[in-house]
């Protein structure tokens, strides 16, 4: 019974994966159709077009082969437009982290101030509510126009999209620190700065961390789209470049890489959240 509890879920995961791969394999299996054009013509077109069909979705084996190529050689650099998937991921992660950290530097102090005063909270609220739902990509043309640099623009887009969850969560966390704790601090005549750092910050930390976790998830979603838009480097550009080549197998490899990195980022912040959470 204990064994089932321990191994049940992973086994089931593997089973789901296998079923998925089997369905995928069956769905993409190609009967090698008869060639409908002459040999000279067939040489000029893809294998599927020669049999009168459209080029097909790749089978799991094709994707596996591509994936293996990327895993075994992730850091090649064959010029400014052709770099390995590892280098592209590094570019994207660097952009996300710089935009995210900048946002944290702004959002957490501002959120703190907003949260401390109900008046400021209410005054800022309409702006936040309007700015929050704007798709970060809508900022892109504006950013390119004003910042005049595509690299800085993508970081700005990350900055602006990761700002709101952190800002709102910080303000909320700070505003909802339990009254009793503040009252205790007041009775003990604790100074303002000390109160902020010793009482409010630890109390609000789990909420702030949750905001950061949401932010990094959004930032990672957005960077891919932003890089597809401006090109140059990054995993988004990699996907776009392979779309240009209609190489679905490469695109799937890119998608998997995006998923894995996103998971790692999320888990890292989840760990940090656990560290600052304390039992009441």
């Amino acid at each position: 019974m204990k064994g089932l509890q321990l191994w049940g879920a992973p086994l089931l995961s593997v089973a789901i994966l296998l079923v998925f791969l089997a369905v995928w394999h069956a769905a993409t299996r190609q009967e090698s159709g008869a060639q409908v054009v002459d040999a000279e013509y067939a040489k000029l077109v893809g294998a599927e077009a020669a049999t009168g069909k459209k080029s097909a979705f790749p089978a799991p084996a094709d994707v596996g082969r591509k994936l293996w190529e990327h895993v075994t050689d992730p850091f090649y650099d064959k010029g400014p437009n052709d770099k390995g998937i590892g280098i592209q991921l590094a570019f994207s992660i660097a952009r996300v982290l710089s935009g995210f950290l900048l946002a944290a530097l702004v959002a957490i102090p501002v959120g703190f101030l907003i949260g401390m005063s109900p008046l400021v909270y209410r005054a800022f609220d309409p702006f936040i509510q309007v700015l929050k739902p704007i798709s970060p990509l809508a900022w892109m043309p504006l950013a390119l126009f004003t910042l005049k640099d595509s690299g800085v623009s993508s970081i700005f887009v990350i900055f602006i999209c990761s700002m709101w969850p952190m800002l709102i969560n910080t303000a909320f966390g700070v505003a909802s620190v339990r009254r009793e704790w503040l009252n205790v601090a007041k009775t003990l005549e604790v100074g303002h700065v000390r109160k902020a750092f010793r009482v409010i910050l630890p109390a609000a930390a789990p909420t702030i961390m949750t905001g950061m976790r949401i932010s990094i998830g959004i930032a990672w979603l957005v960077i891919v789209a932003a890089e597809m838009l401006v090109g140059g480097t990054g995993i988004g550009y990699f996907v776009w470049n392979e779309w240009n080549n209609l190489s679905i197998a490469n695109i799937i490899s890119g998608i998997l890489a995006i998923g894995l990195v996103g998971m790692v980022l999320d888990q890292a912040l989840a760990r940090l959240t656990k560290l600052v959470t304390f039992p009441e």
Binding site: Y41, G46, S55, D82
Partner: protein, 455 residues
Amino acid sequence: MSMFNDPFDPDSRLAPGCSCGHHASEAEHAAGIGTTDVDALSTRTVDTAVMRALFPRDATRRRFLRAVGANTALAAVAQFFPLAAAREAFAQGKGGIEKPNLKVGFIPITCATPIIMSQPMGYYGRAGLNVDVVKTAGWAVIRDKTLNKEYDAAHMLSPMPLAISLGAGSRPIPYTVSAVENINGQAITLSIKHKEKRDPKSWKGFKFAVPFDYSMHNYLLRYYVAEHGLDPDKDIQIRSVPPPEMVANLRADNIDGFLAPDPVNQRAVYDGVGFIHTLTKDIWDGHPCCAFAASKEFVTQYPNTYRTLLKAIMEATAFATKPENRKQIAEAIAPANYLNQPVTVVEQVLTGTFADGLGNVRKEPKRIDFDPFPWHSFAIWILTQMKRWGQLKGDVDYAKVAREVFLATDAARLMKEVGMTAPAVTSKKFAVMGKEFDPAKPEDYLAGFAIKRTA
């Protein structure tokens, strides 16, 4: 032509032709007798200019030189004209590259062939430039990145610099077309399900994609359907889609067809999603498509860099005009760093022996060709079409805009330097679908269309 004659030689003429009279130009003469030393030639160019200014009449100069001898003459002239300084200044103007590290943006299509191939085939390197050619996602981005100066120069659609200079669709910024990259090389591709609908009259309700609003593709597609009686704004839909995304959209049935640059058309055939309905060569043989463009600021701020860069591209263009070189070029520009396409697709485009998607192998050696000369008449035609479809309102000084944006004189000089024949005039008549265009009478041409958006 006679710029390389030794002006201190009493037997040389400073008139067109070479000093011995057997060559068409002094450059050929120099090549024939083995004086290809560029520095010597540039020194001579300066001397010639000075002597020409001093002695407008050749006979006078010759008499003067015979009387006093070349060395005395040189010393005499040097007294009141700093020849040495002028020689040096000119040599710097020739050699001193102000900015050796450049970024040039491109869209992954075969129109960009000269810009792209110059990198792997070493044209930039040999010219002493370190150029990064950077692949870019779309025309709006390439425009913004060039306006931002992230790119020093870029591959653009030839109407874009006109639009940018006039402020249509963006802030007005003086922009220039230094060279046309390619002529022909586009096609109308239709989805394979429309195999039977070869008559444009049956295209009502079709959704077409073109690369950009300000593109030859847009104007040619509009022209083509309008000549067949369809109103491009009412009877069909035209949307702008970046070339690399066109095949994916055609496959997904989002569009019925497109007028697109290659290799997109050939790629649609390669993947079995579309067929080539007509090459744009058959709409207007010799039409321009893409351009090598730079801001006026770059041209004036870094004149030597600009000239060196343009010359490298001209040399590449000259190489690309020869059909026997096309296979080699296809192999150089197909890899992931550049076009990211199967070699056979690029090769079919460049050699003109291609599968048309309907089971035929066609041979059209002029499917794409390369001719860098930025004809003013091309610009004027583009302006008439911008006006025809309401992108430009009001009066346009066609000739002036064409002159300012399409730098024909510079291009002609550099073409000669790389051994191409440059035309002596900057405007010519041509026919689009059998209808003649006279660049001297753009308004009459415009008035001749039944379907148009002009008020």
